[in-house]
Every structure is written in C-alpha cells, then in structure tokens.
Symmetry: C2
C-alpha cells in the first residue's frame, strides 16, 4: 500500500504493477496523463474517505495497492557499489537508507533476513518514492558473501578514516544493526574496516546517517 | 522525561537537574556510583511497573524526570559552527540532528519557534543522550540573524558543490524544513548557497541526512 500523492506519482512512473488506485477528484484532475491506461484500476474517493483508509491521515490525494516484486538476487557488476543491510530494524531508518542510496546512485541493496520489511508502510513513506528505484534482495548474508568477489567495506570503531579511503569503483558497503553493529557472521568477510571520524561526544551515529556519510565519501572520489 | 538506562546514565553525567528518578533494582545495582548524591530523588520500581509508566515499553532500566533548561542565547565565538534549524518538524529528525551535531562537535543549535520541542519523548529518545551535550535556543531566526556576524551556509538546489567548499573555521549552517526547505525570511541572510551533489534519482535528501553530510564536509577541512 502506497500512500500520498507524491509517492503514488513516483509509483506510476516505475515498473511496479498497480493493482488498485484510490484517488481524490483533485489528484485525478491534476494527473490525467500519468493515470492513462489505468482506467480499470482507479476508484475515485473523497478526501475524507481516503483519510480513513490509510495509515497516514494527512494523505489527501491518492493511495495505491501494488504487487510486491519477487525476491531476486541482483546482477553483479564490477563497476558499481552495493549496500548490504545487516539487521536494520527501524522502518524509518530503512526507508531513509533507500532514499539515500537512490540519491547517491546505489540501486542494489542486499538485506539480511532479519532486516525490516521493505513493504512496511513506514518504510515506503520515509523512502519518499525511492523504493520504486532501488532493488532490495533479502537473503542469508553469510551465504551470499561466500560467493562475493567485490571488496567489502564495513564500519567499525577502529578502522581507517573514511576521509582518506580510496573506495575504487565497486564494493559492498555493509551497514550493521542499530544496536549491535555488524554481525560476527558478516564481519569475517569485511576486507576493509572504515571509521567515520568523530569530533564531539556522541557515542555513535544513527545507521542511516552513517550510510549517507559513507556514500558521500564514496562519490566524492568519482566526482 | 528521559527513558532508558543509557539515556538516563548520560543524564547523570550532565548538568541537567534530576527531579525524580525511577530505577529497577538491576539498574540500581549496576550504577551505584553514578547514582550517588541522588538518594532523595530515587524510587525503586519493578521492571513491569516501569514499562507502564513511560512512552517506550522496551524500557527495563530507568526513567528520569528532569528540569528543563531556560531558553538562553548561546555565546557567539568566531571559531565555531552553529546549526540553525528553520522549521524542523519531525521529532525523529530533530533528535537525530542533535546526535549528529554532537558527533561532529557542534554544540550550539539555534532553532526557529516552529521547530519541534526538544523535550518531546521521541526527540529525547532518538538523540541517544546527545540532548544533554548540545544546547538548543528557540528564537525568531530573522531577528537573530540581523545581529549575526558569521557566514551563513544554506542548502539549495543550485548552490556550490559541498565537496569543493572551504567552510573556514566558523559559520551558521541552516537546515530548512522537511517539505519547504529554508524560509524566505532566513534565505535573505544566507551568504553561501551550497548543494549536496546527487548521483542518482531521489528528489531530495532527508533533512537529518543532509545535516550529517554537510557536517562531515565541514570537519574534513579541519582534519
């Protein structure tokens, strides 16, 4: 279920299959073009009806039901970066990570089986439409990494300063669980330990924040 | 109200005044030293009692009631960076910003009057104890900036690439509202427009994420 005009519009421009779409007359009028070809699936509803249907009462435009995509391993190219999520639990963090990955041009995400569900409403909402552009594949990370040929970067307290690392042109960026960090099973595959330098007193950074800082440092090398 | 063992411990090491502290026997036993001098304020409670009292049911250690600090303008030094929040509404974002500022050694935050309340439970929780180490001053930003002498950095779609900017040694970093960005009233004071370069397709970055990327770029210059 995808709520809100902006997210629904992103959806209509994606390869997701819309099963049903509820839209207010206002949304319908403003988005004729994007809605063409969907006539059978659209139901017009009033704003007050819509507000009661979804999870987010502020939605006054549209709500869509989409078909979930099959869980498929992405093709591995040696000229791109993958994000690997090792037990990300908070849906807000997960959605923000999808949005951040999308901003930084990382399209493939490998997630542990205990990572939150990407189709959770809060994940969809905080991804701000980016769930339509990045692919997330849930799998056993240990098994996945056994066959991996790319460098594996992981964040630890004692690693090399992310400001000084040459990330090259490809790799797997591992982001650990919010409380426990990277698991033992995944840690043994890490080929490069990195650290985001601290200048103040917080004990740690939020996992989505760490993801963004690493992505920004990776891309800086390429710009 | 501060919930959770970790946050309460940070509190005990801060200059906040604890009005009341509820602690489980386990927390009490493990933290004798930090709790000394607070005898009058402590009430021992069982875990199941504690779970019912706070906002977060996972809390099994401690809960504290603290006195809010007076809203005072911080001293301005010309060798440090300030964060300015121009209408940050989401409490999770606000807490994450405090945590991020604390990590990057930014201790002074100036917030618009329509920025979320720092003593909101979700802000306290997502700041992970950092609310004890950064000061937030709520004020009319337009009025505040009239008297400001530091450079003012603001993020816009068409600004200079944050990767190439020399931030110098001091300034005000303005973070705009999650939906509308920096307000017109504040925009006119911005002396340097900056942009976080995009490599993919997301329309924007989350406000707390943008804060972190800018802070990381500022500190890189100094390291």
């Amino acid at each position: 279920m995808v709520e809100g005009g902006k997210s629904v519009l992103e959806l209509l421009h994606s390869d997701f299959e819309v099963v049903q779409l509820l839209a207010t007359p206002g949304f319908f009028d403003q988005n004729h073009k994007a809605l063409m070809g969907l006539a059978r699936e659209i139901t017009e509803v009033e704003e007050n009806e819509l507000a009661g249907l979804g999870e987010y009462s502020a939605n006054n435009a549209a709500l869509a039901i989409v078909r979930m995509k099959p869980n498929r391993a992405p093709a591995v190219n040696t000229d791109e970066f993958f994000l690997m999520l090792d037990g990300i639990r908070d849906p807000g963090n997960l959605g923000t990570m999808l949005r951040t990955a999308d901003w930084y041009g990382i399209k493939k995400i490998i997630a542990s089986e205990d990572t939150g569900e990407v189709y959770n409403g809060k994940v969809i909402q905080s991804s701000m439409g980016s769930f339509t552009r990045v692919n997330i594949f849930y799998t056993d990370l240990e098994q996945y990494l056994t066959k991996n040929v790319l460098p594996v970067f992981g964040t630890f307290l004692a690693g090399d300063n992310v400001h000084n690392i040459n990330f090259g042109t490809s790799g797997v960026i591992v982001i650990g669980n919010e409380t426990n960090g990277i698991s033992k099973e995944v840690e043994k595959f890490v080929t490069k330990r990195i650290t985001i330098p601290k200048f103040g007193n917080a004990e740690s950074l939020n996992a989505a924040i760490a993801t963004a800082v690493i992505c920004d440092n990776i891309r800086r090398r390429k710009s």
